[in-house]
Amino acid sequence: MLEAEFERRLERLFADAPELPDATAFAARVDRKLDRGWMARRWLIGAAGGAGGVIGASQLMMTNIFTRVEDASESARVITSSLGQVRSSPDWMSAMTGGGSVVWVASGLAILAMAFALRRVIEEI
């Protein structure tokens, strides 16, 4: 019992830590370090997002995707017309084979979505 009492007393003594004279300076140092980490993180995420966007966009342009999509559209058109000989094709099939402009609009929307998501991430962090 005395043992337990002494242990409680010891816990209280440990909890009663005196205020150190440079407590405010210490808190200011932690604040500054938090600020630095914060700014570095924002820059890092911004830079990573920017780099990712540029790489993604350039890859989209460089891989000749539009030509391939147009080829695919052409193939689809051939298939559609073949199917049309068997039975009449629905109207929406022709809308899908409209050409490269759809791809431009889609990639524009993708870039917009990416920029929006990036902005949200930066705001959240």
């Binding site: 005395l2 043992e3 002494f6 242990e7 010891l10 816990e11 003594l13 440990f14 909890a15 830590a17 005196p18 205020e19 150190l20 407590a23 405010t24 210490f26 808190a27 140092r29 932690v30 604040d31 370090k33 938090l34 600020d35 980490g37 914060w38």
Partner: protein, 194 residues
Amino acid sequence: MPGATKSSPASLHDVELCALAAAGQRQAFGELVRRHGSAVRGLLRRMGAQPAEADDVAQDAFLTAFERIAEFRGEGAFAGWVKRIAARAYLRRLQKERRIGALAAENVEEEERAPAGDSDGRIDLDEALKGLSPAERLCVSMCFGAGLSHAEAAEALNLPLGTVKSHVKRGLEKLRARLAPAEGAVLEGRRGNA
């Protein structure tokens, strides 16, 4: 600005400050650092860290606490939570610098060091801790200052549980002798008068 005083960080409870900090308000976290910085640094010094080292570790502990603030559920005191983070960080540092084995092996020349006391022979905790071996000091501080159980301390120190228990037991015996030479009689009288 109405309500400015009410929402000033200094007037808020730790749990409220933690919630604000978790929502990204660093000003609220700054207040927590101001409130508990000395306690965390004090604990590290009591564990045996030099003042500069204690400050470094405490700083890192607060940064870690800010990153993990969402994990703090307010079930215990914020100060206790940060102290545990700091104590573990200090141990990791000791292990990294391979100082922990040396500490465990080292024994203080306890009889050579006679801490200064008052007229009744009573001394404060910091002085009393100086009479313990580094391992005893570390174990006692972790269990009674950082609130770790013996098993948690053993795991953090990477020592057998029995070793930690015996360090704590010996440390407590020494502290009891140093903190209350008259076996509590004088202290009890003082506490009553305080």
